[in-house]
């Protein structure tokens, strides 16, 4: 594989985490414009973990996820009862507060005679733990996609359990779900927390694989893209947002076909899909059809 291809695939993998994060909330019927905040928080937290506190990567990445989860739980407790429109705008406002917070956040120490740590608008560079550990580009790609595959398979596995069913109930009709004994607030808070952890984990990966982060990376545009990935790729399965990210980054950003007009194509694609296919390419019906296809192959019909 060429270096360029590896870099594109790595990028798709990392950004898929924030798409997956927005997707988890979409499945419980919450449209968040603010998942980039947890991606950013995870990136800063994990980056500080290795670069400033000299933690090993294996501790820093979960730490990023933990910070993302806690922040998301806190935000969720305040906002999840709001009417849909208000919830979306509130998450957007929160994420912008976080972004400006990053601009104001300075935490500098000296390491090997060099200053290191987040430095407000100047960003946070030299997050080199992955490189110092001797990871090649292919190793990085493998790391990202292993973690992503793990996350997606866990989500798919959960879909079949009672937790997954409850999430779908709440996503479809919270009033009916409550009448069927489901604690809607609890399910939504759990989903928000999982979503925060996923974004935080992705952020930690992003900080380490790019070695440099700055506040404006975590602006509203990232949030909209995250949301759009699920809406394009499909809400019927956790593979949806990954497909969405692959279409955007792989097809639009990395090929020359749409250079200069990527956003025009992407924005139009989202707007048209919302009209024609409200739940994305891999919606519930598509997933059911694909599953039936596999069932039919695995179990040839009797008689």
């Amino acid at each position: 594989m060429s270096d360029a291809a590896i870099s594109v695939l790595t990028n798709i993998g990392m950004i898929s985490f924030v798409g997956l994060s927005a997707w988890v909330l979409l499945t419980v019927g919450c449209v968040s414009f603010g998942q980039q905040a947890f991606f950013g928080l995870g990136a800063y937290a994990a980056g500080i973990g290795t670069a400033v506190w000299q933690w090993p990567l294996l501790l820093a990445l979960p730490f990023g996820a933990l910070v993302g989860a806690l922040a998301a739980a806190l935000l969720g407790a305040m906002t999840l009862r709001l009417h849909g429109l208000y919830f979306s705008i509130a998450t957007f406002a929160f994420a912008e507060c976080c972004r400006i917070g990053f601009e104001l956040f300075s935490y500098r120490t000296t390491r090997d005679g060099e200053p290191i740590g987040p430095d407000g608008v100047e960003g946070f560079g030299e997050i080199r733990a992955v490189f110092e550990a001797g990871f090649t580009a292919t190793d990085q790609l493998t790391l990202v996609w292993l973690l992503l595959a793990l996350a997606v398979s866990l989500l798919i596995a959960v879909e079949r359990t009672r937790h997954g069913i409850r999430a779908r109930m709440v996503g479809e009709d919270p009033v009916a779900a409550a009448l069927h004994g489901v604690d809607v607030a609890h399910v939504r808070l759990a989903a928000a927390t999982v979503a925060g952890a996923l974004a935080g984990l992705g952020g930690g990966l992003y900080a380490h694989l790019t070695t440099y982060i700055e506040p404006r990376l975590f602006d509203a545009m990232l949030g909209v893209h995250a949301l759009a990935y699920g809406l394009i790729g499909g809400l019927g399965t956790a593979i949806g947002p990954v497909l969405g990210a692959a279409l955007d980054i792989g097809l639009l950003e990395s090929t020359r076909w749409f250079s200069g007009s990527r956003m025009i194509v992407f924005g139009g694609l989202v707007a048209v899909l919302i009209i024609l296919r409200p739940r994305g390419l891999l919606d519930e019906a598509a997933v059911r059809r694909i599953a039936n296809l596999f069932h039919a192959r695995a179990r040839p019909r009797h008689g």
């Binding site: 979306s88 406002a93 400006i100 545009m221 909209v224 759009a228």
Partner: protein
């Protein structure tokens, strides 16, 4: 200057800026009142108008008046495009669908604008030059006064249009009781389109006045205009005309003082924090009503 004089001077500046915010909020609130939906592409439409005008200013030497007209016309066309793509086909679907769709179209409009003028800062013609007027120890720029006067005039015009014309009646009726609006013969399709066009034209004027004061336009303007209008509207109350005016002025005042005390980042942080707290504590704003019905009451109890 004594601190008290500073406070007054900052407040004057705040009201001047706030009049621009009020116009943006007015545009937002008109669209919300009729559709019960938020148009997040509003700022991007205004930005496209400003960029088209800026392009003509740069390449064809358009003067202030021609630039103003171009801004308004292109912003209006963009508003119509947004309504047709993100709102008209999604009527009857969840309000969130239009919200997300309008955010997606924002990307389109913004990229279209930056394709025209790829540089980060682009010149925008000033409305007028001239020394600040002095009122005792206070000074006010002439273009600020013009902006305030035009803003007040436009608000009056909007009020008169709403209360004295047939089109205004259609709009109010639709905002008040959509179910019965059909029964008295209001055509929702054309009223919604007209509202979007009018709101975008109004926003176009606001955009021109604000940018003429800054004498430049950057790609940040779309996001800026959307968030300022949104925050001002949320402060005043969704769908309320007086609320939009009061919210805009309040936001201008708060921001001016925050910038003075805390700097530009503090100002923005405060504005977003205010928006957030507003939503969490008092989603209806100061004047508006919260979205409520039996279903909403039930959902709030889950």
């Amino acid at each position: 200057m004594t601190p008290l004089i500073d406070v007054v001077q900052v407040s004057i500046d705040g009201v001047m800026t706030g009049s621009g915010y009020a116009l943006l909020a007015l545009g937002f609130t008109l669209m919300f009142g009729v559709m019960r939906r938020l148009n997040l592409s509003f700022g991007a439409a205004l930005m496209l108008g400003a960029y088209a005008a800026g392009w003509l200013h740069l390449h064809a030497g358009f003067g202030a008046l021609a630039v103003a007209a171009t801004t308004v016309v292109v912003a209006t066309l963009a508003g119509v495009y947004i309504e047709r793509l993100c709102f008209a086909p999604l009527r009857g679907r969840d309000a969130i669908a239009s919200l997300v769709s309008s955010f997606a179209v924002w990307m389109q409009l913004e990229e279209l604008a930056t394709l025209m003028l790829p540089r980060h800062t682009n010149a925008f013609p000033a409305l007028m030059d001239g020394d600040p007027f002095l009122f005792g120890p206070f000074h006010v720029r002439p273009d600020q006064i013009v902006m305030l006067v035009i803003a007040v005039a436009l608000m009056l015009l909007v009020w008169l249009t709403l209360h004295r014309t047939r089109a205004g009646l259609a709009l109010r009726v639709l905002a008040d009781q959509p179910g019965a609006a059909l029964a008295v013969g209001i055509d929702i399709r054309s009223t919604a389109l007209m509202t979007f066009a009018a709101a975008s034209a109004l926003g176009g004027i606001a955009a021109f006045l604000i940018l003429a004061g800054d004498r430049q336009v950057t790609p940040m303007f779309g996001m800026w205009a959307t968030t300022k209008g949104l925050i001002a509207m949320m402060l005043g109350g969704l769908g309320s005309i007086p609320g939009a005016v009061v919210g805009g002025l309040a936001l201008g005042l708060i921001e001016a003082h925050a910038q003075w005390r805390l700097g530009p980042q503090g100002r923005d942080l405060l504005a977003y924090a205010l928006l957030f707290l507003c939503l969490v504590w008092r989603p209806g704003g100061l004047f508006g009503q919260t979205l409520a019905d039996t279903e909403a009451t039930a959902r709030a109890r889950l």
